[in-house]
């Protein structure tokens, strides 16, 4: 495409007059080794300092002088830095904020400083606008001459007393590597037993008391520890209560903070209640609404390279030990990835970065969430790049030492800073994530003309030419700063707010523009991204919309006004002090929706997982298979017409029989179950094994821990005496010594004895190999024998679940089996044996976890609901680019090696790193000692064709959970379940007509926390309630009363006092019981 027609066009510096470069040069006494943030770069502020209607631009400079460019129109700027008196050339300037601190209607400039420079202190500076293009430095007079290593600062009115308070984000002085991951979050900087000059860290909240600012950090609940390595402070209304909350993104091991405003001058830091996992080395962040639901979402950047090859050269993921050490020390669930936290109705966030395609943007700094193309959807712009690739793994392992040893040989004193010169330097293209309007984003840097390689840090947006779209200004390290003109021609609305009294620019106001059922939300908080500050004018992109419904402004004092703005493409200005009282609206009407479910107390011992880490015993597997419980069995055990329960236990924990009695549950058969507690229960089914009319119990054993010779991995059969008393059957079952995952009773041969299908996930510690599964034929007398199965059924896959279902409409049920690295497979009993039935499901190779059946479309036959791993996973798998697993003893040492690969259409590249794979196969180092060599290798390059041909292989190319509508005779129409369900895996499915309208709705549970750290975790499911419209279309119900955090492993329906209830089994937690309110 002709670059002149692209959305953004870089304005040449010869035209703009903006030739600022943030030059950073290392020297012997000042470099990345003695100043950790040496390449963190500078920020940008955009704001109209002379009130001429044209936003001006300020750049901070690390080693040189800061720059103020006056906007003279037509993208021509005049450098007035010197005459304005804002140079600060002796300070290492970082963040910048433009704010009218002295309430004269003119923007003042607050500059944050960090980084020790000889002969200069790093106190922050405040430039008071003299209204004549000159400024007077007055920080100390205002009590704002903070001397910490300040990254950024944000002005806002946290206590709603009308004036602007200040959050100061400081980056600790302490060398990170001396901290050993010790959790001293509650130790304030002043109390650290370290030298005075190291105490300058610790974030601060300063309260505006008129003419001066008072440090109220401690009393208002702000952490002030030196483990806080803050790189971003983002302010907005996270829980939609009209009070400003604070998100602080912390670099290194300290977790991020989410301060919820308690509305009484205090904050409650409560991130874990709101967010399930976060970025590890959190850098810049931003907050804005990506799905136009009126709630602010949060985006935080990290350092994960996008290109898988670069990832193999640069990324060191935590190993499982370090990850566990950190989570145990209270650093929460942190992963090397960007995080996109989607704000949900219950104020709980769902992290969807993998689903959204925004999880990786390399070493990132600024993140700006704004509507770049004015199509009404919020896009994301990420500044990235580091001037020196300080995490290059070959540099770590080889090149650095080569430099050091050469110096030692030459007899020279080791000069560390010489090493820096040898570090690779790789400029990269900033990421432009275009919002597709469906929670997914597409990389559009090239398409939009923003694809120049750079080392970018801070950036800011503002409508520099007042044409109704947002132009972009970027600050780069050792490279000219950039101004991009936005050429959007889409419709828009520009809104300028004028505040009152002590908040003249109305910081903290929320603007909600209603357009065709959408709510476009802006929060007027100029400090955003990394070290930067955006213009105060709010611009709503309106795309093709021609008519606006209304604009609601929630002013900083909480009052709301409604403005009937209809026409697009106009500028409006609203002054708080001049508002006609008729415009005020009251939105505080409480809206409580009646939910369909209500959680009710249920007394039972919580499921307690034993401490076992599969990764110690089996290398290069992606996740653990030892935590598959609890499973729940429901049946009337004692013939009293009530639902009783078997709740399974993990290894070391006895299962629990719970007998229902007048709505209460009483535990029974404790002694028997106590004897069996060293088994790990992984599959449960009640059925009449001995044809005596009562409910016997099959309990499958697993855990991926006991080897096959260990009797503790054998399945068990418990025989009911008719009154709910059980005895362990000694020889009823054939010997199955695998990780049992499914048991499904059914009289397949019509002899009126109930037979069993028993599915296995794996042979202990043998991932990737299909174990045998079994049909146990009931011989009567409670005895079973294995029924011979054809090979294609016996070793159909790593089974996770199965279902008996009449697919052919002949009143005989077929068996549907699902599992990992396999397609759902159907087997039919033809009177002699089982045969495979081909269907349209046969090509859907997935990580299937669950299957259930129901007549979804009410056409009289049974359909399938299939739970897969979902689309919010850290890897991609498509039909042409599948994941594959190769299993073979590649090094002939008697053990299977499992190599999982991803494909780019040509080659199959290992998903594990060189370090991980060569630990198991050191021989690979012969040709791949360097990470950069390994990074380019497909498995085809690593092994001879002969070996690869001998390897067994499986693939995965389909990730979504779906329904399969039966068209009769085993033909299915596949429909993906709604997006909300795809944000996590689906482990349990309960079809039930929950609203009693005559069709089958679905209750769905999921999540999986058992991956290795590099694969993050699946935690975006809270349990789903999907309501059927009667034709097989499902709507996600939001306020359901069903809110389950954790890994749901089973969902069962039961009746208590003749009322329907749902029991949800959660790994390593108490189950939750919900009453159905219909």
């Amino acid at each position: 495409m002709d670059s002149s027609k692209k959305l953004f066009k870089e304005v040449n510096s010869s035209h703009s007059g903006v030739d600022f470069i943030n030059e950073v040069h290392n020297s012997e006494d000042f470099n990345i080794f003695n100043y950790r943030n040496f390449y963190n770069g500078g920020g940008v502020a955009i704001g109209d300092v002379n009130n001429d209607g044209l936003p001006d631009v300020f750049f901070t400079s690390n080693m040189g002088a800061n720059r103020l460019y006056l906007n003279e129109g037509d993208f021509k700027f005049k450098d007035i830095s010197e005459t304005a008196g804002v140079l600060d050339e002796n300070k290492w300037s970082t963040g910048v904020a433009m704010v009218d601190i002295n309430l004269d209607g003119y923007l003042d400039i607050y500059v944050c400083n960090a980084g020790y420079r000889k002969g200069s202190k790093q106190n922050n500076t405040l430039y008071i606008n003299n209204k004549d293009l000159t400024f007077t430095e007055s920080a100390s007079e205002w009590g704002l001459d903070e001397e910490g290593y300040t990254t950024h600062a944000s002005f806002f009115d946290y206590d709603k007393d009308g004036d602007l308070d200040l959050y100061i984000l400081n980056n600790s002085f302490i060398p990170v590597n001396t901290l050993n991951y010790s959790n001293k979050r509650n130790l304030r900087a002043k109390d650290w037993p370290v030298e005075e000059f190291l105490k300058g860290g610790g974030d601060k909240l300063l309260r505006n008391d008129g003419n001066t600012f008072v440090d109220v950090s401690e009393e208002s609940g702000i952490f002030g520890s030196l483990i806080g390595f803050g790189l971003g402070v983002t302010i907005g209304d996270v829980n939609n209560d009209k009070w400003p909350d604070i998100y602080v993104s912390n670099d290194f091991f300290e977790r991020d903070y989410l301060y919820i405003n308690d509305k009484n001058g205090k904050f409650k830091e409560d991130l874990p209640s709101y967010i399930d996992h976060i970025s590890h080395s959190s850098m810049g962040a931003d907050m804005a609404d990506i799905n136009n639901d009126g709630l602010s979402d949060i985006f935080v950047t990290d350092m994960l390279p996008i290109d898988p090859q670069r990832r193999k050269k640069n990324a060191s993921f935590d190993d499982i030990n370090l990850f566990k050490l950190k989570t145990k020390s209270g650093f929460y669930n942190q992963y090397m990835q960007n995080t996109l936290q989607l704000n949900s109705v219950d104020n709980r966030f769902k992290e969807i970065s993998n689903f959204a395609n925004v999880a990786a943007s390399d070493w990132s700094w600024g993140a700006l969430m704004f509507d770049m193309d004015n199509d009404s959807n919020t896009d994301i712009y990420v500044c990235n790049g580091i001037y020196k690739d300080v995490v290059d793994l070959d540099f770590i392992d080889f090149f650095a030492n080569d430099v050091v040893s050469k110096m030692a040989l030459g007899g020279k004193k080791e000069e560390l800073f010489n090493i820096i010169e040898k570090m690779p330097s790789t400029p990269i293209v900033n990421n432009v994530f275009r919002n597709n309007g469906d929670l997914t984003f597409s990389e559009s840097a090239q398409e939009w003309g923003l694809d120049k390689e750079s080392f970018s840090n801070g950036a800011a947006y503002g409508d520099l030419d007042n044409d109704g779209d947002l132009d972009l200004v970027v600050n780069n390290v050792n490279q000219q700063s950039q101004i991009f003109k936005n050429n959007s021609s889409a419709n828009y609305l520009r809104v300028k707010l004028k505040g009152q009294e002590k908040n003249t620019f109305a910081i903290g106001a929320k603007l909600k523009l209603y357009v065709e059922g959408k709510i476009l939300l802006k929060e007027l908080v100029p400090n955003r991204g990394f070290q930067s500050s955006v213009d105060y004018t709010s611009i709503f992109g309106l795309g093709e919309y021609e008519k606006i419904d209304s604009l609601i402004v929630i002013w900083p004092d909480g009052k709301e006004t409604k403005h009937m703005v209809e026409a697009v493409n106009q500028d409006i200005e609203i002054s708080q002090s001049e508002i006609n009282s008729s415009l005020f609206v009251d939105s505080n009407k409480s809206t409580t929706t009646k939910t369909l479910l209500e959680e009710v107390p249920f007394k039972i011992e919580a499921h307690k997982e034993n401490d076992y880490v599969d990764f110690y015993y089996e290398r290069n597997i992606p996740s653990m298979y030892s935590q598959e419980g609890p499973k729940i069995g429901v049946a009337d055990l004692n013939g009293d017409g009530q639902s009783d329960i078997y709740f399974s236990g993990a290894k070391g924990q006895a299962g629990q029989f719970m007998l229902s009695s007048n709505g209460q549950f009483v535990q029974s058969e404790k002694d028997l179950l106590e004897k069996l507690k060293d088994f790990e229960d992984t599959a449960v089914a009640f059925f009449d094994a001995d044809s005596d009319g009562d409910q016997d119990l099959f309990v499958g054993s697993g855990g991926n821990e006991q080897l096959a010779h260990n009797p503790l991995i054998a399945d068990r059969l418990l025989i009911n005496d008719g009154k709910g008393n059980y005895d362990l059957s000694k020889d009823g079952l054939p010997n199955n010594r695998m990780n049992t995952s499914a048991v499904l009773p059914y009289d397949f041969d019509g002899d009126e004895l109930i037979d069993l299908f028993v599915g296995n996930l794996n042979l202990t510690r043998t991932y990737g190999v299909s174990p045998n599964c079994f049909i146990y034929k009931n011989l009567g007398n409670g005895k079973f024998e294995s029924f011979e199965l054809p090979k294609e059924m016996r070793t159909v896959g790593m089974i996770k679940d199965a279902a008996w279902i009449d697919l052919m409409g002949d009143d005989k049920k077929e068996l549907v089996v699902v599992g990992e690295w396999m397609a759902p497979s159907i087997f039919q009993y033809n009177g002699e044996g089982f045969v495979k039935v081909e269907s349209s499901l046969s090509k859907l190779y997935g990580f299937w976890n669950s299957v259930s059946t129901a007549d979804i479309d009410k056409d009289g036959d049974q359909d399938l609901i299939l739970g897969n791993i979902g689309k919010n996973v850290s890897f991609k798998a498509e039909e042409n680019d599948p994941l594959r697993i190769f299993v073979y003893d590649f090094d002939q040492n008697g053990e299977f090696d499992k190599i999982i690969t991803y494909s780019d259409g040509n080659k199959n590249y290992p998903i594990f790193s060189k370090r991980e794979l060569t630990e198991q196969l050191p021989i690979l180092k012969k040709k791949n000692l360097m990470h950069k060599d390994f990074a380019t290798k497909g498995i085809e390059d690593l092994f001879d064709k002969k070996l690869l041909d001998a390897a067994s292989r499986k693939g995965v190319s389909y990730l979504p959970s779906c329904i399969a509508i039966n068209n009769g005779q085993g033909n299915f129409k596949i429909k993906e379940l709604p997006i909300d369900v795809q944000l996590s895996c689906v482990n349990a499915i309960l079809p039930i007509d929950i609203d009693e309208d005559g069709d089958e709705d679905l209750v769905i549970g999921g999540n999986n926390f058992d991956f290795l750290p590099q694969f993050s975790r699946l935690d975006a499911s809270r349990g789903h309630l999907l309501i059927n419209d009667g034709k097989g279309n499902f709507e996600v119900l939001n306020q359901t009363g069903l809110s389950v955090k954790g890994e749901v492993q089973d969902i069962k329906l039961l009746s208590i006092n003749n009322q329907r209830h749902i029991l949800v089994g959660i790994n390593n937690e108490s189950p939750k019981l919900f009453k159905i309110l219909k």
Partner: protein
């Protein structure tokens, strides 16, 4: 070195003439052995091998080289039958001359190349060495037979090496962290690497009967009560550098650091600095001693061979105990219970504490060297000079090994019993090898 070079020039000058009748003698330059061992050592450092694995990489090539020479007219004792699982070494054909020094270096290089990763570094070196052998101007059929024979012995040794359980142990379970066992080893700062080689005891030993032939007494029972023995030993480590001779102690600790992979971290910047392993250091001392004693070609190989075998078995013995007692490192205990800001002078290596590897293997090596060169053999140890460390002088091998042992206490990475009992363990391994290995 210089002499040898001028000799080569002289030989090159005559090389187009007739073959050199003294080629056996002229080829038997001990200096070539030292350079070859050093080359292997350098590659080991570059390629990053942990200390126990490095000891394996040193052992097999020198055994191959020695075995070749053992079949020369000198009739030294072959190791076949003496080393576990080593079957009869192929003999050269009768009545056919072989240049044994050449064959032995061919065997060394081939076995070495198989065990390291950066083969090209060994290949370049090999080409250099072969030029020197060519310059000796031996008959071309002898040259060919020698390389053939060297390769044949190398293959035999590699077949044998392949069965020592090394590749099998690559897939054995990793060390498991069990949180509620408070005495149990945990990964240590700054890199928190997982415990290396938890199954090294399952590697086939060379001479000792089994990995657990010399089990040391158990370590002092973990106890944090102030009057307990463990606490006293812990505090000895904590206060080790508060002595009057602090500087000397730091020097000693640094000199014997021998850590092949020290992780340097500042902020997001990380890089490793690499040194020879403890075993590598003793290869260096062997070179110093052998040169000083003017060993001949066979004698030099014999010294390296015996020392390398002692080192390898000492590592197996030591690692057997390390993952039996699984004892926590002083740094972890001190940081958790005494002083969270304390850092040892040396970076704690990534495996359990008891016994001290340097103590066990240095003692075993020193005993073998004493057996070969006597107990009052003084020498200047300049092995670490290329890593920026000074020369240290010792009056005997045992004196050096004792300093290596105690250096671990000064370095803050071992309690005293790991050193004292480690020295005893090393003595037992060393003595057993001296008694049972005939070269």
């Amino acid at each position: 070195m210089k002499q040898f070079a001028s000799l080569i020039c002289l030989l090159v000058f005559f090389s187009c003439e007739k073959p050199n009748p003294n080629y056996q003698k002229d080829a038997a330059q001990t200096e070539i052995i030292h350079r070859t061992v050093k080359q292997l050592s350098d590659i080991i450092v570059h390629d990053i091998f942990s200390p126990p694995v490095a000891s394996r990489v040193y052992a097999y090539p020198i055994i191959a080289a020695y075995e070749v020479m053992a079949h020369s007219e000198n009739k030294a004792t072959s190791l076949e039958g003496q080393l576990k699982g080593l079957s009869a070494i192929p003999r050269p054909a009768e009545d056919e001359e072989v240049c044994y020094p050449l064959a032995s270096m061919i065997a060394y290089i081939k076995v070495g190349k198989a065990l390291i990763f950066s083969e090209e570094k060994m290949t370049t070196f090999e080409e250099e060495i072969l030029k020197e052998f060519e310059a000796v101007n031996m008959p071309s059929d002898v040259y060919k037979r020698s390389t053939d024979y060297g390769n044949k012995v190398a293959d035999h040794i590699l077949d044998w090496a392949d069965k020592d359980n090394y590749k099998e142990t690559r897939t054995y379970p990793k060390f498991s962290i069990i949180e509620d066992e408070i005495y149990r080893w945990k990964p240590t700062p700054p890199a928190y690497m997982t415990g290396i080689e938890p199954h090294w005891k399952e590697i086939r030993p060379f001479v000792i009967k089994s990995a657990d032939q010399f089990v040391p007494p158990p370590p002092t029972e973990f106890n944090l009560k102030e009057n307990s023995l463990f606490y006293k030993e812990l505090m000895e480590v904590y206060h080790a550098l508060e002595a009057d001779n602090k500087e000397e102690r730091v020097e000693i600790a640094s000199f014997w650091d021998c850590n092949p992979y020290v992780m340097n971290q500042t902020g997001h910047v990380m890089f490793a600095t690499k040194k020879i392993t403890p075993g590598g250091h003793w290869q260096g001392i062997t070179a110093i001693a052998s040169k000083k004693a003017n060993d001949d070609f066979l004698g030099t190989l014999k010294a390296y061979c015996m020392v390398s075998i002692a080192l390898a078995d000492a590592f197996i013995s030591c690692w057997d105990e390390k993952y039996r007692s699984n004892l926590i490192r002083p740094e972890t205990v001190i940081n958790e219970h005494i002083d969270e800001n304390w850092k040892p002078a040396l970076q704690t290596p990534p495996f359990p504490e008891y016994t001290s590897g340097h103590s066990v293997i240095s003692t075993a090596a020193a005993l073998v060297l004493t057996h070969l060169y006597g107990d009052s053999f003084s020498f200047d140890d300049d092995v670490e000079v290329e890593y920026g460390l000074p020369v240290r002088s010792f009056d005997s091998f045992v004196e050096a090994s004792q300093e290596a042992a105690i250096s671990r206490l000064y370095g803050g990475i071992h309690y005293r019993p790991a050193i004292d009992n480690g020295v005893q363990q090393g003595e037992k391994v060393g003595q057993y090898i001296i008694k049972n290995l005939k070269l």
